[in-house]
Amino acid sequence: MSEPLPIDSLIKSLGAQAAPVRRLLSPGRRTVGWTMAVLTIAAYLLWRHGMGNMMQRWEIAPLVCCADVSAFFTCIAAGWAAFALSVPGRSNAWVWLPLPTLLVWMAASGWGCLRALIAPNAEAVGFPQSADCLVFIVALSVPLSVLLVLLVRRAYPLRPVQAAIMIGLASASASAALLGIFHPIDSAASDLAMHAIAVLIVIGVNAAMGGRLLQPR
């Protein structure tokens, strides 16, 4: 069998295939596209359910507003991190970009959970409705994750598992933020716990499957 081709010969043959290529958009511009996709779904949900329910929730419990807004910013930051991590030569430090908003989101949700436990007069949400929240977050995260995997695969992720975790976080936080548009007025501890479980499921599945889907070719 033939020996591998000499490098000079390989360079010549690659040079012969030097067709113009469409440059990948910068991570920032791709993040704008991702944000627009999430905002489009938000616009549809607002058209369908109105803003009244969401505004009432935010008025009664400002921390819920804080949790929803920080979930939205986590989805933007995690998407940006996924796009940046998928370009060779970019810093690994991008993985920390969603951390501040994630911490605010977790703190606000955790405090809401505690509040629900110590204030039993809050309107309780039963287990079936909690399960609905889980189904919504997981179900909406699937197409959002697929969209992000397709976008990230257009680049060349050298750290596929980290990129996949960022994709999971971005899609789960987007789903949780969108859920806030039509979520019941107040939340029971079990309901908030169910949100957290849903987010962890989405991130875990993405890390397990996305890592393989994003492996460098």
Binding site: M1, S9, G15, A18, V21, R23, Y156
Partner: protein, 218 residues
């Protein structure tokens, strides 16, 4: 007293007065020429993305040294450097659309080269784990012509034929024309209607695929 100056993206740095010395001039010159070379490669790659063949060949040729040094730093043996260089150049060709001309070409290339070097070391490690090192093995090895050896060779040939038949059409064609029929590139190009560059790349990819299938590399 040291002057405090704002610069770069990291904010403040202290600008100590430096005493001019011959060695510092040499160091500055080297740094400056490296910087120029890096900028030249960035410009070539940007032109290559627009389809400039000459610029593309120049940037690939200029990248070989950098790929070798990255591979050496990762611990690739000297006799395997060319394998890593070839794999990296093929990857650069496939993902050249991901390079952003406003950023460092060298950093982009080094990341790809490091990945390819690690992949090479992993596959090499798996090979090494399967191979048995025994200095008396040659003396104790059975004769070439015995029945077991012949059977093994027949099985290997069958596996190779099977692997070749499972290659994508373009790669199978390149192997059949260039390796099995031992035709020249020009003859093969004439017979298949493909250009010689495409045949070479298809052959390289076919050999890589066959190595993976027959030896379990990835």
């Amino acid at each position: 007293m040291p002057g405090l100056t704002t610069a770069g993206t990291m904010g403040l740095y202290i600008d100590f007065p430096r005493r001019a010395s011959p060695s510092s001039h040499v160091s500055d010159d080297i740094h400056s020429s490296q910087e120029q070379a890096s900028q030249r490669r960035s410009a070539w790659m940007a032109a290559a993305q627009d389809g400039d063949r000459q610029a593309y060949e120049k940037v690939l040729a200029d990248s070989v040294g950098l790929i070798r040094s990255v591979a050496r730093r990762q611990g690739v043996a000297i006799d395997s450097l060319d394998d890593v260089v070839q794999e990296t150049l093929l990857t650069v060709h496939r993902v050249r659309h991901t390079y952003d001309p406003s950023r460092s070409y060298d950093a982009w290339l080094a990341a790809i080269a490091a990945r390819r070097a690690i992949d090479h070391l992993r596959s090499h490690g798996r090979h090494g784990a399967r191979e048995v090192s025994d200095e008396f093995a040659l003396d104790m090895h059975p004769d070439v012509g015995d029945a077991t050896t012949q059977t093994e060779r027949a099985q290997e040939a069958a596996r190779l034929r099977q692997a070749v038949s499972e290659l994508p059409p373009g790669q199978r064609e390149a192997v059949e024309q260039l390796s099995l029929k031992e035709q020249s590139l020009a003859e093969a190009a004439e017979e298949t209607g493909r250009n010689t560059g495409a045949l070479k790349v298809n052959l390289h990819r076919a050999l890589k695929t066959l190595r993976q299938r027959l030896h379990g590399d990835s």
